[in-house]
C-alpha cells in the first residue's frame, strides 16, 4: 500500500517534471522492431513512392518497419476495423495506421474505433504545429479532432486548364456556367460521393448560397432546402450543357485529367496543388496546362493519420506519425516533383535552417505558390457531405 503510494507519487513527480520526453522514450523503446501496417489510398505512384521513402528512413532511424497497404478507398479500412470489432478482435487488429479525414474520421470516432488521444503528445506536434494557424487542424470537417488523429498534410482545390485551347479560364461558379453554355459538353465535375465531387458541390454552395454561415453548423439544425435551393437550380442548368449532357460523370481527379488531356473537357479540378506539374512530368498532360483558383477562394482541408483502437503496434504507429511531422518529412512531401502536398507545420516555429529549406523548394511549371493559392474556404460541417450527396443522388442519379 505504502510502496505503491510512493511509486505513484514518484511517477507523478516525474510526470510533472518531464512527462513527454519520458513517455516518448518509452514509446520509442516499445516501438522498436514493430511492424506498422499503414493503410493508405494507393492510387497515385508519387505518393506511394513517398511513403516508401518514409518507410526506409523510419527503418533506419527507429527500427520500425512501415508497410503500406494500398487501398482503393479509405472506407475499405473502416470496414475492416468494423469487421474485426464484429468478431471481437479487440487486440492485434490488422491496421495500425490509416490515412483519413472528414466523414471517415467522424464515423470511426463516433463508433469508438480509434486509439487515442495521441497526437498532442507527439514531440514534433508540440514543437512545430500551431493549432491556431488553421481551423482545419483542430476541426476536421467540423468534427473536433480531440487528439484522435495527427495532421499529415493540407490540400486545397485547384482548377486546371490547357492554355492552348482556353486562355482565360472561368474563375467562379457563375463564369463556369456561362462558359459551359458557350461551349456545351466541355465542363464537368466528379460524381458525388467521390470526395472531389462532393467538394465541388460544397464549393458551389459557398459561392451561390446567401447563407454561408449556416454551412459551419450541423445540417440538421438548419433549413437544408432553403439554403441549397440555389445550388440545385445552378446544377440543373449546368447539367444540360455539361460533358455527356450530365448523364455520366468522371469518377476521380485522375480521370478528369485524362479527359483534359484527351481534350474531351476544358477544365479539370484536383485536391492536389501540384497535380498538374506531376502529370506534365509523367507525360499525362501537355506542358501548356496551368493551375488556377477561383477569385473568391477555394475549399481547403487537412488530412490526418489515425490509429485504430485494436492496433497491435500503437507505439510504432505513433513513431511513424511523429516522423511524418518532422521538418525533414514535410519538406520532402512538399517538393513538387515528389508529392507537392502542403506542409502542416507552422513556418514561424521552424528553425531558420528548415525555413530556408522550405523557401528553396522548387515549384513545378504548373504549380501555384502559397500566395497565388489565395484564400482558403473552410470545409462545411461534416454532416453536410452526406446530406449533399444524398440529395444529389436523389436528383441526378435515379
Amino acid at each position: 500500500m505504502k510502496k505503491s503510494f510512493i511509486a505513484a507519487s514518484i511517477a507523478a513527480t516525474l510526470a510533472f517534471t518531464n512527462p513527454v520526453q519520458a513517455d516518448w522514450q518509452d514509446t520509442l523503446v516499445q516501438a522498436e522492431g514493430q511492424t506498422v501496417y499503414f493503410n493508405a489510398w494507393g492510387g497515385a505512384d508519387n505518393i506511394n513512392d513517398y511513403i516508401q521513402w518514409a518507410a526506409d528512413r523510419i527503418k533506419d532511424k527507429y527500427n520500425v518497419t512501415l508497410k503500406q497497404v494500398k487501398l482503393t478507398d479509405t472506407s475499405d479500412a473502416v470496414n475492416r476495423v468494423l469487421a474485426e470489432k464484429a468478431a471481437g478482435k479487440n487486440t492485434n487488429g490488422s491496421i495500425d495506421l490509416m490515412w483519413i479525414n472528414g466523414e471517415n474520421f467522424r464515423a470511426m470516432k463516433d463508433n469508438q474505433l480509434l486509439f487515442g488521444p495521441f497526437s498532442p503528445s507527439l514531440p514534433n506536434y508540440q514543437k512545430y504545429v500551431n493549432e491556431n494557424a488553421r481551423q482545419s487542424l483542430t476541426q476536421d470537417f467540423g468534427t473536433p479532432v480531440d487528439g484522435m488523429e495527427s495532421p499529415w498534410g493540407m490540400a486545397q482545390v485547384i482548377f486546371m486548364h490547357d492554355t492552348a485551347t482556353l486562355s482565360k479560364p472561368p474563375k467562379s461558379m457563375v463564369e463556369l456556367l456561362a462558359y459551359a453554355k458557350q461551349h456545351p459538353g466541355r465542363i464537368t465535375y466528379p460524381e458525388p460521393p467521390q470526395f472531389l465531387g462532393s467538394t465541388f458541390l460544397k464549393q458551389a454552395l459557398y459561392e451561390l448560397s446567401p447563407y454561408r454561415k449556416a454551412l459551419s453548423q450541423p445540417v440538421d439544425s438548419v433549413d437544408f432546402d432553403k439554403i441549397t435551393a440555389p445550388l440545385w437550380a445552378y446544377l440543373d442548368q449546368l447539367h444540360k450543357v455539361a460533358w455527356r449532357n450530365g448523364q455520366t460523370f468522371p469518377s476521380s481527379a485522375e480521370e478528369m485529367m485524362r479527359l483534359l488531356d484527351d481534350q474531351e473537357i476544358d477544365v479539370a479540378l484536383s485536391f492536389d496543388i501540384s497535380a498538374a506539374s506531376v502529370q506534365i512530368d509523367k507525360g499525362n498532360l501537355p506542358d501548356t496546362v496551368r493551375s488556377y483558383v477561383f477569385t473568391g477562394g477555394t475549399i481547403g482541408n487537412t488530412h490526418f493519420l489515425a490509429i485504430p483502437y485494436n492496433s497491435s503496434a500503437t507505439a510504432g504507429a505513433q513513431v511513424v506519425a511523429n516522423f511524418m511531422l518532422s521538418p525533414e518529412a514535410q519538406i520532402k512531401k512538399q517538393t513538387p516533383t515528389i508529392w507537392g502536398d502542403l506542409s502542416v507545420l507552422s513556418y514561424t516555429k521552424l528553425p531558420a535552417s528548415d525555413q530556408a529549406k522550405f523557401d528553396a523548394l522548387p515549384r513545378g511549371i504548373a504549380t501555384l505558390s502559397i500566395e497565388e493559392l489565395g484564400k482558403t474556404l473552410p470545409e462545411p460541417h461534416s454532416s453536410w457531405v452526406g446530406a449533399l450527396e444524398k440529395e444529389w443522388r436523389k436528383r441526378y442519379a435515379q
Partner: protein
Amino acid sequence: MPLQKIKWTQWTIALLLAFPIAIGLIGTLLPAFQYFPPLGQDTLSLDPWHSLFEQGEFYASLKLTLITGIGAPILALWFSLSLLAWGYQRPFFRKIETLLSPILAIPHAAIAIGLLFLLSPSGWLVRLFSPWLTGFDRPPNWISVQDPYGASLIFALVIKEMPYLLFVMLGAMKSLQASDTIKACQALGYRRFTLWRKVLIPQLYPIIRLPIFIVIAFSLTVVDLALIIGPNTPSTLAVTLFRWFNDPDLDRRLMASAGAVFLMLVIALVLGGWELAHQIFSQATRPERSNGKRSGLSDNLLRSGVILGLMSLLSGFIALALLPIWSLAKRWRFPDALPAKWTWDNIDRATPLLIELTSNTLLIALSATLLACFIALLMLETLRRSTHYSTNKSSGYNKPHLFDWLIYVPILLPQIGFLFGLHVLLIYLNLNGDLCAIIALHLMYVLPYVYLTLKGPYLAYEENYLQEANRLNRQTWRNYVRIKLAMLKPALFTAFAIGFSVSIAQYLPTLIAGEGRYSTLTTEAVARAASGDRKQVGSMALLQAFFPVMIFWMAQYIPPRWTRWRLALKTSLRRINPRRNKKCSA
C-alpha cells in the same frame, strides 16, 4: 481411385463446402435485419428493409441491373450458339478456338479498361478516323460508353461471357456424339444452321445449363466491370450496394446488407424465370422444329448471331491489343492513332513492383488450382461410385448430386455482402490477412470451374481400362495415376488452366481475405484503374493476361506431345545408362 470410405469422404467434403457458405449467409442475413452488435444494433427489426425500399436509387439501380443482367447472357448465349453452329468441326474454327483462351483468361477489369479506350468519344475508333474523315479536331460530346441504358456494359459483359460459353459448349459437344448427328442430318438434307437449331441445340442446352446460370449470376452481380464501363447515374444494384457498404455513414451497411439479400432473391427469381422462359420457348418452338422442313426463316437468327458474335470477338481482341501499347506510350493524345512519344519508363518504374506482385499472384493461383484439381477428383470419384449415379448411368442422364448444388452457391451469390460475412469468420479463426485464407477463398471460387470442366470427361471415362490394369497388377493407386489420370490429361490440363485464370482474376476475395496485405496483379490493376492511368494499367494488364494465356497455351500444347516427350526422355536416359535400365526391366 482406390478410395475407401466413400460416404465418409463425401460428407466431409460437403460439410467443408457448406460451412463457409452458411457463415457468409448468416453474416449477410443478420445485419439485413438490424442485428449488428459492433454498431450497437442487437435487436431484430425490419428497419433496414424500410430504408432500402425508400431509396429511389434502389429502384433505378434494380431496373438497370435487370436490363444488363438479363440482356447480356441472352446475347452471349445467342452469339456463342451461332458461332458454334457456324464453325463447329471446321478447320478455321480451330484457330478461333485457340484465340478464345486469351479473352477467357484476361480479368474483366483489364477488358473493361481496353474497351473504354476503344469506344469512348476520345477513344481509338474515333481517333482512327479523325480528323481526316470525321472532321473532329476534338472529341465529340457523344455518350458511347457509360451510357445510361447500360449498352456498353452489356457489350463488355458479352465479350467476356461469350468465349466462356463457347469454351464450355465445345467441351460439352464431346459427350453429344455430335459428328454422327451432323452426318445423319446432313444426309437427310438439313441445312447446317437448321440442324443445329432443330436437333443439336436442344440437346446441348441441358448440359450447359449450369454454366449459363453462372453467367447470369455473374452479370447480375459484377462489380469491377460495372464500376469501370457501366453507367453511374444510377449504377447497377451491385455497384450501388458496394458504395453503400463503403459509405462512411456506418448505418448504411445495414441497408446495404438488406440490399445484398434482395440481390440474392433477384438472382433466384431471374434464374427461375429463365428456366420458365426456356420451357415456354421450347414448347412454343416444338411444332416448328418437328415440321420436317430442311431450312427455315429462323436460321437467319443464327446467321446474324455469327456476324455480331464475330464483331464482338474482334472488338475484344482490339481492346486487348491496345493495352500493351499504352504501357509503352509517353504521349498519346487525341487524335493520334498511335503514341506520339514512346518510352520504356512506365515498365522500368513498375518492374520491382511487378516482380513482387507476380510471385504473390503465381503462388496463390498455383496452390489454389492444384488443391482444386485434387478436391475435384475426390468429389468426382465419390460421385461416380455413389449408388444413385451408377444406377442411372445407363440412362445417360443423371440427377444433380448434392455437390452440384453446393459447389455453385459461392459463385451464384453476390460477392459483396457474402464476403463481408465470411470475413468475420476468418477473424474468428485468426486467419485474416493470412496467405492460407486467400488461397482458401480462391479455392472456393476456383473449385466450381475446375469441377465443372472435369466432370464430363471424368464420368465419361471408360472404366474398363483401369479394371484391366488392376487385374494385371494390384498397385491400384499407381494404376489410377498412370492409367486413368494419364488418359484424362487433356481434361485435367484444361481444368487447371481455367481454374488458374479464375484465380488470377479474383479481386474482392483477395482483398478481403488478404486484408490488402498481399497484393496481386489484379488487386493492383483495379486499384490503378481507379486512378484512370492507362499507362500503368496497361503494363499490369499485360502481365495479368500473360500467365493465364501461357497456361492455356500449355494446356493445349502439352497433352498431345506428352507421351512422345516422355518416351523420348526414357530412350535418351536408357542410352546414357543402359545397364541400370536393364536391371530394372528384369
